[in-house]
Symmetry: C7
Subunit: 80 residues, 7 copies
């Protein structure tokens, strides 16, 4: 599959741009929300390095600055 | 098993076409729904690159455009 | 264990036939049900390619046609 | 550890005999029960091939015939 | 780490003796309990082969005889 | 990363000393607590061998003696 | 990807500095909170060695000193 387009290629195009990361729930309350930030780096586990990140849960917004988000908390990633 | 038909071959036939992705729940509310979009790429983990994607949860529809959907949130994928 | 009978050999015998796939729950509502369809292909993760698939949840039946079902949602598979 | 007794050796002794498989819950209702059947085959993931299988949940019994049960749904296996 | 003491060495000392296995919950009711039995064998996944096993959940005791317990259901193992 | 300090080096310093192990929940009741004991051994999965172990859940304390605690139940480990 | 920036590079820059670690829930109560401490070491699983660590859950603060935090409990890590 070396020369095929792969899902993570979409993230390469989003580097340096703002992305919306929808978090998946694990049955608790504090992670049903979105992390929004500028995509600096990602890896194969979908761990993300975001800058100027902000966590949005309902009406609540928290500015976080630099964030390393663990990939297994992610539902989807979408460029803003 | 190299020459047998495999489940992911079905996705190869859906590239460039609209697919319905039923999301599985993790006990929370925000991911019981469907993601509908044009399948641009997929990998062995069932991570998907969708274009013109739309998230449908009950009566609510959200246009998302480009989406990288993490494969472990998927219940099933079906061409529209 | 190369010459022993293995569980997936049972699925080889079901290729081209209708199977009932009991879905396991993840704590949510939308995946406590059964997927019924003709088994076209499977892999070692128990990902399934079904044709003429139908999702049955309680009294509700949804015709889906072609489906790629992610293996980790499966409780068991049984030929009809 | 090649010559030591291993847990799966117990299953080798149960081949062709009836076993009770206690299913573990994932937070839902439909898999708190037991699968009873004749053990035809198993693999290292504890995937099981059962014949003459019957699902018992509370007072409800469902005859299933041949079943491939995914190993990660299992709490324990016990010969009848 | 080949010559260091490892956690599973504690289980080697318990072979042939009664152990208490505290089961972890997965959100359901039927696996909050203890399995007590004579440790015949274990593997690196903490799958256990128990003899004369008994499942204790609250006031309820169930005699099971031989049991293969899947390791990922275990919270801890302790010699009686 | 061979010569860098790693998280498990902190556990090497705690061998032979009392540690507090905060257990993570899986949605059930019986594993929201702490295991306290003398750290005899650990492995890369964070499986622990504890001596003189005691399980503390709310006001309830249970003396357990020798315990092999499966690593995936652990939230964090801290020397007392 | 050997010369690309990766998410864990952000953690290298935080070594010796205070970080906020948002814990993810597993459906229970005791791990919806934050661990704050000085990052001494991390590994590829995002296991963390923190010094002067403090667990903050709602209004409750617990001083913990040295902590080895298992990576799979982490939602995100952010320098203070």
């Amino acid at each position: 599959m070396s020369q095929e387009t792969r899902p993570l290629d979409a993230l390469n195009q989003s580097k340096g741009k703002r992305v919306i990361v929808k978090l998946r729930s694990h049955g608790g309350k504090n992670e049903e929300g979105e992390m929004i930030g500028i995509l600096k780096a990602f890896d194969l586990h979908l761990n993300l390095w975001l800058e100027d990140a902000e966590l949005v849960v309902g009406d609540s917004k928290t500015k976080l600055g630099t964030v390393v988000l663990r990939g297994d908390n992610i539902l989807f990633i979408s460029p803003e």
